[in-house]
Symmetry: C2
């Protein structure tokens, strides 16, 4: 219980060699004779020696730690990204520091000031800041996920938000819908903005003019989905279709539709962006724009580690990886024409 921590020196002493030799067998760097290697390995095992990574970090400037910064830790989208990242990181021998900023710029600042500044090899960032300046100040290898800020100076892993919304809306149009509503939120980040304009373009291409009364902007929250769906359906001329621009809005919409005693795919057609438990449960299952959440984490982590390992000279051009979305048609859209 009170035995002092065992250091490389203890191992060296027991093995009758210098610390350098011990260090060498641990890192497999230089050559060491087979005999001594075995001897040292045995002693390491006997003494239960585990090297102090921080001491090592001091000299080689690698901490073998990554960090992932997300707005909140309980949203399934973020945990999926984190899950993917942790998996890759572990495989490559990195540990992952998880930081939640609560979507608060000040908290994000604080974090950067206090810790990250120095001790992490790289990070994956789902940022809250909206100014490119903030991101340009980050000197560590960094990958932006989901929310990309132009001129930020970092690589990104994104999905094609525009296309997702476009496909969803086009699906409505093809099925003969004309009164198509969209529930989204502030256009603070490109992702949300793109979704709106994807909707917009598909409307125009279908010969429809987006009606401002059918565009409900909240805060991307479940309660917005609920409230606006109620509002829309109780209006004089309710829409025949609703596009819920993110997962929780969709959840809210489903609940509202239920509480209004309406039938999905019959009284009202619905498409959600991003899958979710409820959309899968109700019948018919809700058609959704599915995005590869876990893959985003995997991809981002791979790019990050690549970057960390790579020569500094390999300063390639900035890279944005756009992962594809897919419209999963499950039958929550009623066919009106033909």
């Amino acid at each position: 219980m009170f035995n002092k921590e065992i250091t490389i020196k203890d191992v060296a002493k027991h093995a009758n060699v210098s610390v350098a030799t011990v260090s060498r067998v641990m890192n497999g760097r230089d050559r060491v004779s087979d005999a001594t290697r075995k001897k040292i390995l045995k002693i390491i095992d006997e003494l239960n020696f585990v090297p102090n990574t921080m001491a090592a970090s001091m000299v080689n400037k690698k901490t073998k730690m990554l960090s992932v910064v997300v707005p909140e830790i309980q949203n399934p989208f973020y945990t999926a990204v984190i899950g993917g990242m942790v998996e890759v990181a572990k495989k490559e021998g990195f540990f992952t520091l998880v930081v939640a900023t609560n979507g608060d710029e000040a908290e994000e600042d604080e974090f950067f000031d206090s810790f990250l500044g120095k001790n992490v090899d790289g990070m994956i960032l789902i940022g809250t800041h909206k100014d490119a300046e903030f991101y340009r100040n980050i000197r560590k290898p960094t990958i932006l996920v989901d929310r990309y800020i132009n001129d930020c100076g970092h690589d990104g892993v994104l999905i094609d938000n525009f296309r997702g919304a476009y496909e969803a809306t086009r699906h409505f149009v093809e099925y003969g819908h004309e009164r198509i509503a969209i529930i989204d939120g502030e256009h603070d980040f490109n992702d949300g903005k793109d979704r709106y304009w994807g909707y917009h373009q598909a409307m125009h291409e279908g010969g429809l003019t987006p009606d401002p009364n059918y565009h409900k902007q909240g805060n991307w929250l479940e309660e917005d989905g609920y409230r606006f769906t109620m509002e829309l359906m109780r209006s004089e001329q309710p829409p025949t279709a609703i596009f819920a621009a993110n997962n929780v809005i969709c959840t809210g919409a489903i609940k509202a539709i239920r509480d209004l005693n309406l039938r999905i795919g019959e009284d009202i057609s619905l498409i959600g962006f991003d899958d979710n438990e409820l959309a899968q449960f109700v019948q018919p299952r809700v058609t959704v724009v599915s995005r590869p959440t876990r893959e985003m984490g995997l991809q981002a982590a791979e790019m990050l580690i690549q970057k960390i390992k790579g020569e500094p000279s390999e300063q390639t051009k900035l890279k944005k990886v756009i992962l594809d979305v897919e419209l999963m048609k499950y039958g929550s859209v009623k066919r009106l024409n033909k």
Copy 2:
């Protein structure tokens, strides 16, 4: 981009003082004249100096890092615990390392070997190992959450699984149910075991003998909930009530009931352990044994930090904190008697 990292030495040089003095103003430890303090603070700000925590850790043996080890990172129960923990940790100036073991003992071992052994001030552990030995070998301040192993030598934060299951079952009995089934999993850990015996006791107290045919043991998975519910309801003499011993089993049960075209609270009564999205959605809402997930994280983190800060002499007795559960009656249990 390529400017060298700024160290405490640079600050000292610019301020014309020794590094010791700079260190002192940073830590507020010793006294420093007001004039020099101001001067140094200004320089720190100007140079944008952020101290290297690892170097500091080397000498004072505190990393200001906590770690939380969970079986998986996508289960809402674990993320809730993590969320609570991260919140407390941040407030106290600690960062949180998240480790997922995938419920695999070998992975858990590997983790302990490689990193945690030394570089974290303490940890919260939702362990996969079943042997007390494993836990006794952990020399760091550690709090076990949810799954407690006797004689492990660490404090724990738990919920009253026995009582939760007992209350649920008693509720069934009071409403006149006699054919009460339970779907659970292996009794590897005390939590699961206790739930079964809580059910068991309530049955006996209600003058009922638990029927082995009504006890379905799977692997605590959603598919088990689905499969066993199907099985039970299609049997010759289906139960009138089912107790789903965890959140995902309950989800599976709800889906099965839906697919069987049965009505919850009418054709079959259901109680789940731990709340979940679906249980909240269906109508009537499913009665659940609710446990304070986030609070578990908060409580555990507080105890942990307390322990870390405390004098080593304060070797108090082991402490198990049992948080209370609550049976939330929402109407998925039909009244059969009276």
